[in-house]
Each structure stands twice: as structure tokens, then as C-alpha cells.
């Protein structure tokens, strides 16, 4: 890849915070670091990954609204976690977290456990108990 071929396809993935480094050949045929704001295939792949995450979050939100899952399930998806990973942050076995993903299991949680879940998901307890409508 030559320096002038380094793509500059900006899809605002970097939010203007910085440009990334690519290695490319300059006029003298020597490699150098060239800044880039992005490349279309890369942007496509990243968008695709986020679409999938947003789909999962939305499905969880709907399930909470219809009473199939507890709000914890929504906030867990929003943090891109599964029951195993959330369990690790909580020091709880996966099966216990899974029980708390159900409305009945969630209802049994004491204040201390709710606070720990809230901390693990970087929320307040009040936020943890609701989903956006």
C-alpha cells in the first residue's frame, strides 16, 4: 500500500478523537506511519457488529416490557455481557445470575445484592430496576 492509497473513509467511528496509524510506502519506497480516519470494509464490519449488539439489547428490552425477563437482563446485554461474565464480576455462579434474569428471581434480591449488580454494570440501583420505554 502506497501512502496516497491509505484510505480516509470517515464513518465517525473514531468520533474525531484521533486518527489510527497504518504502515504505507512513501515516495522514496520507504515505509512510514500514515494516519487514517478509517476504511470502508472496516467500517462495514464494525457497523455489522454493533447492529448485532443493538438487536440483542432491543430484544432484551422487549422481553422485559412483556414481563418475560427482569431489567437485569436488559442492562446485562447493554453492557455486552452474558450471565457467565456478569457472574465473574459479581463473584456468583452463572446459574444464580440466570435465575436473577427472570422476574421472579430478580424480585427476591436484597438491597446489598442490587447495589453490587448496579456497581458491576456502572448504574445506580434505581436505573438497574428500569428499562427505557
Amino acid at each position: 500500500m502506497k501512502k496516497e492509497e491509505v484510505p480516509q473513509d470517515d464513518a465517525n467511528m473514531l468520533e474525531g478523537k484521533f486518527r489510527v496509524v497504518k504502515y504505507a510506502l512513501n515516495e522514496k519506497g520507504e515505509y512510514e506511519k500514515v494516519p487514517s480516519v478509517g476504511w470502508e470494509p472496516e467500517n462495514t464490519a464494525l457497523e455489522q457488529a454493533w447492529d448485532l449488539i443493538h438487536e440483542k439489547v432491543e430484544a432484551a428490552r422487549q422481553a422485559v416490557i412483556t414481563g418475560k425477563l427482569s431489567p437485569l437482563a436488559y442492562h446485562m446485554e447493554k453492557n455486552m455481557m452474558d450471565a457467565g461474565l456478569l457472574g465473574k464480576h459479581m463473584g456468583l455462579p452463572t446459574r444464580k445470575v440466570k435465575r436473577h434474569l427472570e422476574p421472579t428471581g430478580f424480585a427476591t434480591l436484597d438491597a446489598a445484592t442490587l447495589q453490587r449488580y448496579a456497581d458491576a454494570l456502572q448504574l445506580t440501583v434505581a436505573e438497574l430496576q428500569h428499562v427505557p420505554r
Binding site: M1, V6, M13, L14, E15, K17, F18, R19, V20, V21, K22, Y23, A24, L25, E30, Y31, K33, P35, W39, E40, P41, E42, T44, A45, L46, Q48, A49, W50, L52, M80, M81, L85, K88, H89
Partner: protein, 338 residues
């Protein structure tokens, strides 16, 4: 402990976090190695496609050796000694960081990108292998040299503590490291040849079909069946994942192939072996072929591909790349030790 420490640390932006941290830390300790040099000496380049290891249901493809191994191989080849520490308690990890800074030493550490607020949102997945250097503290904020960023950043103590203790694959447990011995007379040319020979051997001699250059045609074989086996949606996700592993922040383009070509060029001058410049050109052409593959793959992902781009034509491209990499690394493996 005083409230403020700022170590005069020169931040240079890099393509990849591990090699960037290496290059920056070494420079602080008086050893000048560029990022591509650190990558080559640490034998960073590799290829593997592992269908049995899945992340979010998608097989893992990698263009480099395991995280942390570039550090290890680099240190061995250059005679550098690193102190590496893990912690049980986050507070203890932060106290040790403060003590290290107070001694005037910048500290490298592992973090999870998910918990680094200064990074753009789109890149913040649960990836627990991101290397940064902390080189100062002002009140409750730490000064961070994150190699992928253009300029240093700041992070609050609480946020840094969280990022250092993210759980998952792997649990990083506040892993921190800094050099305790950096020789002033390291033979960089010899280390470059050592690193290069190791990469060449890894690429052509690893006996399992999913590792090294033959992992590329191995993936090609799988790719031909993707649509039938995974269904259209998941096949596209798998393709998208390949593009991300190859091109997203950290590789310098074409899955580290351009960074490796830059290493070959630098090594040619350093070792007085002009033939390596020719090999750098071959590697560049291979890198261009990888980019070409990613471009076509991107079209398929977006369902914008014309009829002449199919999973089969993508696989054909990979087969050709695999052949070229095999040929190049076979030649590189024959480069004599001295």
C-alpha cells in the same frame, strides 16, 4: 506520596498496543527500537484460524502470536529483563502503581478497552488485552500513553482501577510491568535475524493445519461452505469478523503484513542484507492482496457484491495468498543466523 508526579515520557503513536508500548518503554530506558523493529524482533507475525475457539459464536482468526508473547520474545532476544506483577486486590495494584511512579518509572499495564472512557465508543468491546503506559498522576487523574492514540490521555483513578480488573478472557488482575534491566549494548541486528528466523519457522513448520501459512488455505476451505453451513446472516457475520481481525485498530493494515514489511526494510539496512529489501516488497504485495480480499469481503457483508464476488472467489483469493506466504516464509527460513 505527593499529589502530583509527571515523568518526562515521550509518547509516540503506534499501530499496535503491544509493540507500541514496547517501543515507547524501551526508548525511555535508552534503547531505540521502532515499532516494526519491536514487532520483528519479538516474532509477532503469525496466522491461525481456530474454528474450535469461538467468540460470540464466531471462530477466531488471528494474524499474530498470542498476546504478551511479543514482549517475551523481544526481551529474550534483546537481553531485557522485565518485572511483571499481578495482584489480588485492586487497591494494592493502584498503590504499587503509585510507588512505581514515585520512583520515576513509567509502568506498562493490561487493561480492558471496554472500561477506557477516553477511547471512541465504537471500539469499546470486552477485550482484556490492551496495553498502555501510565507515566504520571495529577490528583485523582493518571496520565496515560495509549499507543493507538495520537496524544496522551487522562483517566480517573476509579476508571483505571476498573479497567485493570476487568474479568473474562483472561482475568487480567491488574497485570503491570516495567523493565528493570535494559542493556546499552544489545545487538539489534542479530536479534532482528533471530526474530525473523523464528517467524519464518513458525509460519512454515507448525505441524497443525490451522496454524501458520497453511492455515490460510484451511480457512479458504471452510469459507466455501459458510453460506450453506451457517446461513446467510451468520456467514456475513463471520466475514465481518475476519475483516475486523485483519484491519481494525492495532494491525497497521493487512493483518500486520505491512508492519512486517516495514521491519524487513529496516532489518535490510541494519544487517547489511539487501535481499531483505526484496522480501519486503514481496510482503507488501501480499499485504495488498489481503486488503483486496478484505475489500471484496466488505462488499459481500454489505450485500453489495456484484455477481462475480462469491464465497468461492473469496476463498480463491485466500488460497493464492496462502501460496505466496508459504513461498516467502520458506525463503526467509533459509536466511543464515549470522
Amino acid at each position: 506520596m505527593s499529589n502530583s508526579v509527571v515523568i518526562p515520557f515521550e509518547h509516540q503513536q503506534s499501530a499496535h498496543c503491544e509493540t507500541g508500548v514496547l517501543s515507547n518503554l524501551m526508548r525511555f530506558h535508552g534503547m531505540r527500537v521502532s515499532e516494526p523493529m519491536a514487532f520483528g524482533i519479538g516474532s509477532g507475525l503469525f496466522y491461525s484460524h481456530m474454528p474450535f475457539i469461538k467468540l460470540n459464536g464466531i471462530p477466531v482468526t488471528s494474524y499474530r502470536i498470542l498476546p504478551g508473547h511479543i514482549f517475551k520474545r523481544f526481551s529474550r532476544n534483546m537481553g531485557v529483563e522485565m518485572r511483571r506483577i499481578k495482584f489480588r486486590d485492586p487497591r494494592e495494584a493502584m498503590d504499587e502503581l503509585d510507588r512505581t511512579l514515585d520512583k520515576g518509572l513509567p509502568a506498562g499495564m493490561l487493561t480492558s478497552v471496554f472500561y477506557l472512557p477516553y477511547l471512541p465508543k465504537a471500539f469499546r468491546f470486552h477485550f482484556n488485552g490492551h496495553n498502555i503506559v501510565v507515566f504520571g498522576r495529577e490528583g485523582d487523574e493518571y496520565l496515560v500513553s495509549d499507543p493507538v492514540m495520537e496524544t496522551p490521555a487522562r483517566i480517573h483513578r476509579t476508571a483505571l482501577m476498573r479497567a485493570r480488573f476487568a474479568k473474562g478472557m483472561p482475568d487480567i488482575k491488574g497485570r503491570m510491568y516495567y523493565p528493570v534491566r535494559v542493556p546499552g549494548d544489545a545487538d539489534t541486528a542479530a536479534a532482528a535475524i533471530k526474530g525473523l528466523r523464528r517467524t519464518a519457522r513458525d509460519m512454515v513448520n507448525t505441524p497443525i493445519s490451522m496454524f501458520g501459512a497453511k492455515g490460510i488455505p484451511y480457512l479458504a476451505g471452510k469459507l466455501r461452505n459458510y453460506e450453506r453451513k451457517l446461513g446467510e446472516k451468520d456467514a456475513r457475520l463471520a466475514l465481518g469478523n475476519l475483516i475486523r481481525m485483519q484491519e481494525e485498530i492495532g494491525t497497521g493494515g493487512a493483518g500486520f503484513r505491512f508492519m512486517f514489511a516495514a521491519f524487513l526494510q529496516e532489518a535490510a539496512t541494519l544487517t547489511g542484507k539487501p535481499a531483505l529489501r526484496e522480501h519486503a516488497l514481496t510482503m507488501t504485495r501480499i499485504g495488498d492482496a489481503w486488503r483486496d480480499f478484505a475489500f471484496d469481503a466488505g462488499r459481500v457483508c454489505k450485500a453489495r457484491a456484484t455477481a462475480d464476488i462469491t464465497y468461492d472467489t473469496l476463498a480463491d483469493k485466500l488460497v493464492a495468498i496462502g501460496r505466496q506466504e508459504t513461498a516467502l516464509f520458506k525463503e526467509l527460513a533459509r536466511i543464515p543466523k549470522a
